[in-house]
């Protein structure tokens, strides 16, 4: 170890809040914790700290100083960054080269603090929550080409690389995606970037018959018109338990937001979008319904608001993220009725559901329904009086057993974020 690093790591050890600047610094600290068997709360910019269980650890390892772009090759369609680099920094840089993170990182800042906070690249990968384009292009994990990180023994490890075709060894990039920092302290990430589509339009369809909503989702999935977003926003329940945000959030000249609506996004060059608009009208038989078009200037912010989860801005309630096979969307809509506030993304697969505080029994009922209908759900935000009888993440016995073994192979003394996802891990 270099003298300077030794000195730094000594300083870090004097405090419970450690913020190394380098990968080797992270490795040295973890090696020390490994020796002393000290559990650590791993965090990036802390934008998603409320997801999962509280970590029981006296020490916090803050990785946000690992911040900066290492290499960006627009022509090779990848960007390599230090893992603590804010997503906003990455997106701003890509924007200058007319590129983007096609999986649309969600912004979890609004639901918690009422303003944007997209967090770090590591946080985005560690949670694996993709936005509206998911059903078309893939999830966050599909865009992670490679990573470097420190495992629970303090060893610096890497997997993958910068090329898209790579089957050399196990694909650990997938395993660390969505692992909530329980396996590896990420230090470096290589993400696949995509060309940004220059133009988009959104067709808004005004309807409330859930049977038709479900059939439209199916037609969208079946369409060869390259639809890159399909959501349904029902009426908000008329109850004081919910903040009514819909008309405030989705305020656009060409959107009538006094009732429920379905929205479809088309992206591409102008001619292609116009042509597909015509084709979709025919394909989805949209003549039957009242519709309007959001032009490029309205369509872009519309989808940003969807992926900011602005409908649930500053919520004090529980927020559930449920994923089901799309054909079960009608059943779930029927089950939810009009007493809960929700919206549907991923063309019928993803439900964001708000459940009022002190109604944990409702969460249990939803979980039972979801698991009986081949889906899974996560309690993203817990209300003040959440009683923790319901598990935050769902799993089954065999999967939990295997997950424990995988955890042990990365982090044998269970130092990283113990209990964040499952009590047992």
């Amino acid at each position: 170890m270099f003298i300077e690093e030794k000195k730094n790591s000594q300083i870090y050890q004097d405090s419970n809040y450690l913020k190394p600047d380098t990968e080797i610094g992270v490795s040295n600290l973890v090696k020390d914790f490994y020796k002393k068997k000290l559990p650590i709360n791993l965090q990036g910019t802390n934008s998603k700290k409320y997801i999962g269980y509280n970590v029981q650890a006296a020490k916090t390892l803050d990785l946000s100083n690992l911040n900066g772009v290492i290499e960006y090759l627009p022509e090779e369609l990848y960007i390599k960054v230090l893992a603590g680099t804010p997503i906003k920094t990455i997106e701003d840089l890509l924007e200058k080269h007319n590129q983007q993170l096609a999986f649309e990182p969600l912004d979890f800042g609004y639901i918690n603090e009422g303003k944007s906070n997209k967090g770090s690249a590591a946080g985005c990968v560690a949670t694996n929550y993709a936005g509206s384009r998911r059903f078309k292009v893939g999830s966050v994990r599909d865009f992670v080409l490679g990573f470097r990180g420190v495992n629970g023994k303090g060893d610096i490890i890497k997997s993958g690389g910068t090329v898209v075709k790579n089957v050399t060894g196990y694909d650990l990039s997938k395993v660390v995606s969505g692992s909530f920092g329980t396996l590896v302290a990420l230090t470096e990430l290589t993400l696949k970037v995509s060309p940004k589509k220059i133009f988009q339009n959104t067709i808004v369809i005004y309807l409330k018959d859930i049977k038709i909503v479900s059939s439209l989702f199916h037609k969208v999935l079946d369409s060869s018109n390259e639809i890159s977003g399909a959501i349904y926003i029902p009426d908000e329940p008329k109850s004081k338990k919910f903040d009514l945000n819909k008309s405030r959030v989705f305020k656009f000249n060409d959107l009538k937001n006094d009732g429920p609506f379905f929205a479809i996004r088309l992206e591409g060059d102008r001619v292609s979008v116009q042509e597909r608009l015509q084709d979709i009208n025919r394909e989805l038989e949209l003549k039957k319904y009242k519709t309007s078009i959001l032009d490029n200037h309205q369509s872009v912010p519309f989808w940003i608001k969807v992926n900011n989860l602005e409908l649930f801005t500053n919520t004090k309630n529980n927020l559930i993220r449920a994923v089901i096979p799309p054909s079960n969307s009608e059943k779930l809509m029927k089950f939810l009725g009009n007493k809960l506030k929700y919206f549907i993304d991923w063309s019928g697969s993803l439900f964001w559901i708000e459940v009022p505080d002190n109604e944990d029994n409702k969460i249990a009922q939803i979980r039972e329904f979801i698991s009986n209908n081949e889906g899974y759900m996560t309690i993203i935000m817990k209300s003040e009086n959440f009683d923790f009888k319901e598990k935050v993440f769902s799993t089954d016995k065999a999967k939990l057993m295997i997950s424990k073994k995988i955890k042990e192979s990365f982090d044998p003394k269970s130092l990283f974020n113990p209990g964040r996802m499952y009590r047992e891990i």
Partner: protein, 498 residues
């Protein structure tokens, strides 16, 4: 045949062969346990046919429960198990061991559920890749990953190898196209991963299994995503006078924002070979030929083709031919798809390599391969999935000459080392298997490999499932001066590394 180091044979197992066979016959239908020399001969090798080995016995279970019981039995009795799909793998991943049971999944050959409402198909792993598309094409759907062996390769093998294909440039490889799987661990545990939903909660075990080359578990069911056929598919044949022009054009097309469905590059040697063989109408004055395929809506495809023509001209293309109809499009591909047999007609043997490089290094790697070809005095023909930087150099040699396979393997290894040096990968889609096992240290250091071995050990404590594959056993990373030896002990000592 070149010499190959394999895990030490457990003589105790060999002596117990008849007892093991009779035990296996009690666990599953006795007709599905093969142990006579003539019965097991077809299982001696996979598509890396230079290597052969006879397994102790072959078992052909018919359902997940049987797989679980066989694995549990073998785990208890310390018997190695080699899983095998259709045996089309090019890296020797299904090569048997003398003291191992070969577990063939050929009887898992049924499609279980075609769910058009959720755009997915639930299938047993022995079903071939192409059968999935055949089962859904009447309604205008298809399964996107299309490895060249799709007629014969099984979907379970595709999961094990994370197979790609020509169209993975736009649609991704197997890992991006499966929703769920059922797998059995070496101790017999049956686990379901994912289902008909997108993504999964918790650790992405499906992502881990995909591409794990049969080392972590045996896949007994797969749920794949199916896609609706695009409105239009068109292809263009573009010739270039130099390697640089072709390489630059590929890079410029991708960086312009166009994502073709497929983009292939062939060098002069392969153009000549395939033209003689398939008569696809390729331009004979080209040093490099690019086949680019676009799919999507009519207007989008047309506008992308115009842009590609412009970029090609800018990069000095000397011919540009657009497919006028489906027949012509297929003719464009016929040459590329005949690459293997065409090379087979040129030399007694050929060896297909598989590496990845950043797209921008295409001309650099081609020059390096030309240099190596002279050094080893072996001819080579190059076909690349250029859009995603995946190379398939085909080295031509004569296997009957004693030293030529060894020389060919060294040539291949040098190509792959060059790929890694240029920022690429040892294998883009064929897998490591036994073929590139000893090269793993080029890509990974000891800590990287140790982490992977620790995962292996966590799911297969005794290292019985497909041992001797993927991870180096002959040339230790120690020889590169990179091994980390802790207090004189090697980590994971029970892994055979010598």
């Amino acid at each position: 045949m070149s010499e190959l180091a394999l895990p030490k044979v457990d003589k105790n197992i060999l002596t117990k062969k008849s007892l093991i066979v009779s035990d296996l016959k009690r666990i599953i239908n006795k007709d599905n346990v093969l142990s006579d020399a003539d019965e097991i001969k077809p299982y001696e090798t996979d598509a890396l046919a230079a290597y052969k080995n006879t397994p102790l016995a072959v078992v052909l279970p018919e359902n997940t429960q049987e797989v679980s019981e066989i694995l549990k039995y073998c785990n208890n009795e310390n018997i190695k198990v080699i899983p095998r799909g259709a045996g089309t793998g090019l890296s020797g991943g299904a090569l048997p061991l003398n003291d191992a049971i070969l577990l063939g999944l050929g009887k898992f050959n049924k499609i279980l559920d075609i769910d058009f409402n959720n755009n997915c198909v639930v299938t047993q792993p022995g079903v071939t890749n192409l059968s999935i598309t055949h089962a859904v094409k009447h309604k205008g759907y298809y399964y996107a990953p299309d490895p060249s062996s799709q007629l014969a390769c099984s979907i379970g093998g595709n999961v094990a190898e994370n197979s790609g294909g020509v169209h993975s440039l736009k649609y991704g490889t197997t890992t991006n196209n499966i929703l769920g799987a059922e797998m059995v661990l070496m101790d017999g545990t049956i686990c379901r991963l994912g289902g008909k939903t997108l993504d999964q909660e918790g650790y992405d075990l499906m992502g881990l299994i995909c591409g794990s080359e049969g080392l972590l578990g045996v896949i007994t069911e797969v749920t794949v995503k199916i896609l609706k056929n695009p409105q239009t598919v068109k292809a263009a044949l573009v010739g270039f006078p130099t390697i640089e022009d072709g390489g630059n054009c590929v890079t410029e097309i991708i960086s312009s924002g166009i994502v073709p469905a497929g983009m292939e590059i062939m060098d002069k040697a392969l153009i000549d070979a395939t033209e003689k063989f398939a008569k696809a109408g390729y331009p004979m004055d080209a040093e490099v030929l690019m086949i680019v395929e676009l799919d999507g809506t009519n207007s989008e495809v047309d506008s992308m083709l115009k842009e590609i023509e412009k970029i090609s001209q800018k990069n000095n293309s000397n011919s540009f031919k657009l497919s006028k109809n489906e027949k012509e499009r297929m003719a464009f591909w016929s040459g590329r798809k005949a690459a293997f047999p065409a090379c087979g007609a040129m030399a007694p043997d050929y060896y297909c390599m598989d590496g990845s490089i950043p797209r921008g290094k295409l001309s650099e790697i081609l020059k390096e391969i030309t240099r190596l070809s002279k050094k080893y005095n072996l001819a080579v023909a190059n076909g690349f999935h250029a859009g995603d930087g995946n190379l398939h150099p085909l080295i031509l040699f004569d296997g009957s000459k004693k030293e030529e396979l060894k020389k060919t393997e060294e040539f291949g290894a040098e190509i792959l080392k060059a790929c890694v040096k240029m920022g690429g990968a040892l294998t883009g889609e064929h897998g490591v298997g036994i073929e590139k096992r000893e090269l793993m240290c080029e890509a990974f250091n000891n800590d990287d490999i140790q982490q992977q071995l620790d995962i292996k050990k966590s799911l297969d404590t005794k290292n019985l499932l497909n041992p001797g594959k993927v991870y180096p056993i002959l040339r230790k990373c120690a020889e590169e001066g990179r091994v980390h030896v802790h207090r004189g002990e090697e980590k994971f000592p029970d892994l055979p590394r010598f």
